[in-house]
C-alpha cells in the first residue's frame, strides 16, 4: 500500500523541480507525432531522443522520456481512426470502430472518444500503480506460461465477435493467420517455413503484414474517391465535436473500467505489452454489450474499450520496470537505459531506497496524462485536417510513409516487400469475403500461442493435470468461461424477449389484418 511519508517527499520532489515540467509538452508532442507515423515505433522515438536526455538532470530526463511514452500511447490511434492504418499492433482494435466512425463522418467524435479514454485510463492506471506498485510487480513475475496461454486463447475469442458471413471462411482465415505467425524459429529452436530466407528466421514481421492486409482493402480502394470521407458536409473539423466525443466517453464508465483492468494486468507482463490487451478488451466489451450488433459499424464503445486497454497498459509496464528493472517492451528498455545513464538502476533495491522518487515519477505521469488532454485536442484538430485534403495528394503521401514505415521496422526492403505481398493477399481475401481481421489476429497471436502452449507442455511434462497447480490460469479460464456463459445466457434472454416481441407484433398485425378484413367485409 501507499507509503504516506514517501508520498509527501514525492510531492516535494514534484514541486521543487517545477522546471522539469517544461519538458512535458515537448515530450508529448514528439511522442504524438512519431507514433502517428505508421511503422515508427515508440521504441524508435525514444531511442532518438535518448541522447538529448543525457544533458538534462535525472528527473527532467525521466519526465521528458515518459512524456514521449505517454504521447506515443495515444498517437497511434490517429492513423488508425482516420485511415485504418494501425501504426502498431496495439492500435489494431481501435481501427474496428474508429475507422467505421470516420467513414460516417464522425472522425471528430471518434478521436475525442479515443483521447479521453486514453487519458482517463492512463490516469487510472497510474493511480492504481501508486497503490500497488510492489505487489503488482511480484504478481507479474508469477504469471507463467500456462496463464499466458490462457490469455492468448482469450485473445483468440475476438474471432467470435468478428461475425463473418461464413464461419468456415473465418476459421480458415484464422488458422492460416496463426500458421503465418509461427513461421521462423520457434522458442525451442526449430526453424520452419523460412525457404532459406534469413529475415524470416524471426518470423513474418507483423507490422508490415498487418498494414498490408488492411491497406489493400481500404487504402487502395480510396483511389477512386476524391476525399477519404465522401460526404462533403461530413468533412468538417470541429473542436466542438471533438469535445462532444471527449465528453461522451464519460457515459461508459463500465467499458473504461473493464478496459483498464485488462490493460494493466496484461500490459504488466514482460514481453507481451499492450498488443493483446486491446483485442481482449474489445472482444469482451462487444460480447457483453446490449448493442453488440452495431460494433464494427462505428460504435464509440469499441473505440473506448480498445483505447482504454492500450493506455492503462503503459502504467502496467512501468510497474514492471520500476519494481523489477525488467523491460516489458522496447520503450521501457530505453527508459531503463536512460535511468542507467544517470547511474540509477531500477529494480527491487531502487524501489526500496528511493520510494519518493518512484512516487514522483508516477505522479508526474498522472500530470502528463492531464496535459495530454489539452495537447491531444490540439493535435487531433491539426491531424484531422487530413480528411479535407484531396486523396490525390494524401493517398500517395500516406502510401510513401507507410512503405518507409515498414522499412523502418527492420531496415530491410523485406519490410516493404512483406507489405506488398500481404496487400495482394488481403485484397484476394476481401474479394471472397474472408475476414481479413481474423488473419491479422492470427499473425499477432500465433507466435504467442505456440510459445506459451509449448512452454506449458514442457513445464507440465505433458501432464494436463498440471493446470491444477496453477490457480492463476484456472482463474483466467474461469473468468473467461463465466463471461462466455453469461453472454450466452444474456443472448438467450434477449432472443426470447425479441421472439416474444415479434410474436406480439405478429399478433397485432393479425389483429390489424383481421380488423381490416372486417372493415372491408363490412364495406363489401
Amino acid at each position: 500500500m501507499i507509503d504516506l511519508s514517501a508520498f509527501q517527499d514525492a510531492l516535494g520532489i514534484m514541486f521543487s523541480s517545477v522546471g522539469s515540467w517544461g519538458w512535458i509538452v515537448p515530450g508529448l508532442i514528439v511522442g504524438l507525432v512519431f507514433s502517428a507515423i505508421p511503422g515508427i515505433s515508440i521504441t524508435m522515438a525514444m531511442a532518438i531522443v535518448l541522447p538529448m536526455s543525457l544533458y538534462m538532470d535525472f528527473f527532467s530526463a525521466i519526465v521528458f522520456l515518459t512524456s514521449v511514452y505517454t504521447g506515443a500511447g495515444f498517437g497511434g490511434s490517429v492513423p488508425a481512426i482516420l485511415m485504418n492504418i494501425p501504426g502498431s499492433p496495439s492500435s489494431f482494435a481501435t481501427t474496428f470502430d474508429g475507422y467505421a466512425m470516420s467513414k460516417k463522418g464522425e472522425h471528430n467524435e471518434a478521436l475525442g472518444y479515443a483521447l479521453f479514454a486514453s487519458t482517463i485510463c492512463g490516469i487510472g492506471g497510474y493511480l492504481l500503480l501508486l497503490l500497488v506498485v510492489e505487489p503488482l510487480a511480484d504478481i507479474v513475475l508469477r504469471i507463467g506460461p500456462v496463464e499466458m496461454f490462457a490469455v492468448a486463447i482469450w485473445g483468440m475469442l475476438l474471432l467470435g465477435s468478428l461475425g463473418s458471413t461464413y464461419i468456415s471462411r473465418g476459421l480458415l482465415a484464422a488458422a492460416f493467420g496463426i500458421l503465418l505467425g509461427t513461421v521462423g524459429m520457434n522458442t525451442a529452436g526449430f526453424t520452419r517455413g523460412t525457404m532459406g530466407i534469413p529475415v524470416l528466421l524471426d518470423g513474418i514481421a507483423p507490422i508490415p503484414a498487418m498494414i498490408g492486409l488492411l491497406a489493400a482493402g481500404q487504402l487502395l480502394s480510396l483511389a477512386g474517391r476524391d476525399y477519404i470521407i465522401e460526404a462533403e458536409g461530413a468533412r468538417e473539423v470541429s473542436v466542438r465535436r471533438i469535445l462532444k466525443g471527449c465528453w461522451g466517453t464519460l457515459k461508459f464508465p463500465g467499458v473504461l473500467l473493464r478496459g483498464s483492468i485488462i490493460g494493466i494486468v496484461i500490459g504488466a507482463v514482460p514481453g507481451v505489452g499492450s498488443s493483446i490487451g486491446n483485442l481482449i478488451a474489445y472482444a469482451e466489451t462487444k460480447r457483453t454489450a446490449k448493442d453488440s450488433a452495431t460494433f464494427g459499424k462505428g460504435n464509440p464503445k469499441g473505440v473506448v474499450a480498445a483505447e482504454s486497454a492500450v493506455a492503462s497498459a503503459e502504467g502496467g509496464s512501468m510497474a514492471t520496470m520500476l519494481a523489477l528493472g525488467i523491460p516489458g517492451g522496447g520503450a521501457t528498455a530505453i527508459l531503463i537505459a536512460a535511468f542507467m545513464m544517470h547511474n540509477i538502476v531500477p529494480g527491487p533495491s531502487f524501489i526500496e531506497t528511493q520510494k519518493p522518487m518512484v512516487y514522483a515519477i508516477i505522479l508526474n505521469n498522472i500530470v502528463q496524462a492531464i496535459v495530454l488532454l489539452a495537447v491531444g485536442i490540439g493535435f487531433i484538430y491539426v491531424a484531422s485536417n487530413i480528411v479535407r485534403v484531396r486523396t490525390r495528394y494524401v493517398l500517395p503521401a500516406i502510401l510513401v510513409i507507410a512503405t518507409l514505415g515498414t522499412y523502418a521496422v527492420t531496415g530491410e526492403t523485406a519490410g516493404p516487400i512483406t507489405l506488398f505481398v500481404f496487400a495482394l493477399l488481403g485484397y484476394a481475401l476481401a474479394r471472397y469475403q474472408y475476414p481479413v481481421a481474423a488473419v491479422v489476429v492470427g499473425i499477432l497471436l500465433g507466435r504467442m500461442l505456440e510459445t506459451e502452449f509449448l512452454r506449458s507442455y514442457q513445464l507440465s511434462g505433458g501432464n494436463p493435470l498440471y493446470i491444477l497447480e496453477r490457480p492463476g490460469a484456472l482463474a483466467i479460464f474461469a473468468v473467461m468461461f463465466a463471461s462466455l456463459a453469461m453472454t450466452a445466457w444474456g443472448k438467450r434472454k434477449q432472443n426470447k424477449a425479441e421472439a416474444e416481441e415479434e410474436a406480439a407484433m405478429l399478433r397485432l398485425q393479425q389483429e390489424d389484418a383481421a380488423r381490416g378484413a372486417h372493415t372491408t367485409a363490412s364495406k363489401g
Partner: protein, 331 residues
C-alpha cells in the same frame, strides 16, 4: 482551401522531423587526416535496449573523441545476429563500419546451427571487454540451496525439477555438459525453452521454473530475487562474487564461456587496410583506458576492460572451437 489544409497536414510531420533532425546532427570535430573523414557507422546486431546497444551508446562519446568523427549507431537485429553480421560483411572494407556485438557465442552459433553464409574467421576482434558466464540460479524463495542439491534431486528423478534455458546457446551447452557429467539423462529432464536470456531470467526469478541456466550479468538488477547456485567460470567472477563456482559443487564438468561482447571489424579490413585497423585498435584502447569512460560505464554495469585484439581474438576463437566441439549437444 486545399492549400491551407495541405500545408497544415505537413506542418506536423515537418515539425516532428525538424526536431528529430536537430537531435541527430551532432557537432563533429573535423580532423585533417584522410581517415576518418566522415561519420562512422556502429552496427549493433540487436534491438535497442539490449546490452550491446547500451554499451555502444555509453561508450560512443569516448570513442568519438579518440576517432575524431561522430558515430552513428545502426541497429540491425534479427536471426540471432546473422542479419547484422551479413550486413557488416557486405559493407566496403573502408573502416566506416564497425561492429558492437556479442561476438561469442552468436557468430559461431549462426555458423554452426543456421548455416550462415560466412565463417567465424571473417570477423576480427578489436576488444571484447564484457565476459559473461552461465549462471545456474533459482528464485530467492526456493527450497533449493545448492547446486549439489539440484544434481541429487535430478539423479533420483529427472522430472522432479523444471529447468529454464535458451536453446542453442552457451547456457544450453553448459547445462547439458553438467548433467552429462552427473550421469543424468538430459532427454528425461523437464526443459522449458525461452527465446532469450531476459524471459529465462524472469521465469527463474518468478519461480515459474525451478532452476534457470542463463547468462549471469543480466541477473544483476534482479539480484535480490534470485539465489545463485553455480557459475560456469574457472575462477571467481568479480561482478558476482557471491556466486559459487560450478566446481565447488563437486561436479567435474567442462564448460563453455558465455557471451563475449565488444568491438569488432571484418577480417577483410584488417588484412586490406592495416593502417585503418591499427588506428581503430588504438582509438578503442585509449577510450577503454579513459578513466572517465571507465567510471561512467562501471556505474551502468557496462564493461571497459582492455584485453586487446590478440587476447580478444583468442578468446573468441577458443569459444568458437569449443562450440564446434559440442555442437551436437545444441541440436
Amino acid at each position: 482551401m486545399t492549400d491551407f489544409t495541405r500545408r497544415d497536414a505537413f506542418k506536423i510531420t515537418a515539425g516532428g522531423l525538424a526536431v528529430a533532425g536537430g537531435l541527430v546532427a551532432m557537432p563533429s570535430i573535423v580532423r585533417a587526416a584522410n581517415y576518418p573523414s566522415r561519420p562512422i557507422n556502429v552496427i549493433v546486431p540487436f534491438a535497442t535496449g539490449g546490452y550491446n546497444d547500451r554499451l555502444s551508446r555509453a561508450f560512443m562519446p569516448y570513442l568519438e573523441k579518440e576517432i575524431g568523427q561522430p558515430m552513428v549507431i545502426v541497429n540491425k537485429p534479427g536471426a540471432g545476429t546473422q542479419l547484422g553480421n551479413s550486413y557488416a560483411l557486405n559493407q566496403p572494407a573502408d573502416g566506416y563500419s564497425i561492429l558492437c556485438t556479442s561476438a561469442a557465442p552468436y557468430i559461431p552459433l549462426t555458423v554452426l546451427l543456421q548455416n550462415a553464409p560466412y565463417k567465424v574467421e571473417d570477423f576480427a576482434m578489436l576488444n571484447l571487454p564484457s565476459r559473461d558466464y552461465t549462471l545456474a540460479a533459482t528464485s530467492a524463495g526456493s527450497e533449493i540451496k545448492t547446486f549439489a542439491e539440484v544434481i541429487e534431486k535430478l539423479k533420483a528423478d529427472p522430472g522432479s525439477l523444471s529447468i529454464g534455458v535458451q536453446p542453442a546457446s552457451a547456457d544450453y551447452a553448459n547445462m547439458i555438459l553438467a548433467f552429462q557429467a552427473a550421469e543424468i539423462d538430459p532427454t528425461k529432464l523437464r526443459i522449458v525453452t525461452y527465446d532469450g536470456g531476459g524471459p529465462a531470467r524472469n521465469a527463474t526469478a518468478g519461480a515459474q521454473v525451478d532452476v534457470g541456466f542463463v547468462g549471469g550479468e543480466g541477473f544483476l538488477p534482479l539480484k535480490s530475487k534470485i539465489r545463485p547456485l553455480a557459475i560456469f567460470a574457472g575462477e571467481k567472477v568479480d561482478w558476482f562474487p557471491e556466486a559459487p563456482l560450478v566446481s565447488e559443487s563437486g561436479l567435474k564438468t567442462d564448460f563453455v564461456e558465455g557471451s563475449q561482447r565488444g568491438w569488432a571489424v571484418t577480417t577483410k579490413l584488417r588484412n586490406e587496410q592495416p593502417e585503418i585497423y591499427k588506428f581503430l585498435v588504438g582509438a578503442v584502447e585509449r577510450a577503454s583506458k579513459n578513466p572517465k569512460a571507465i567510471e561512467t560505464l562501471k556505474l551502468q554495469e557496462l564493461a571497459t576492460t582492455w584485453y586487446g585484439p590478440e587476447a580478444s581474438d583468442k578468446a573468441y576463437l577458443d569459444n568458437a572451437a569449443k562450440m564446434a566441439k559440442y555442437v551436437d549437444l545444441l541440436k
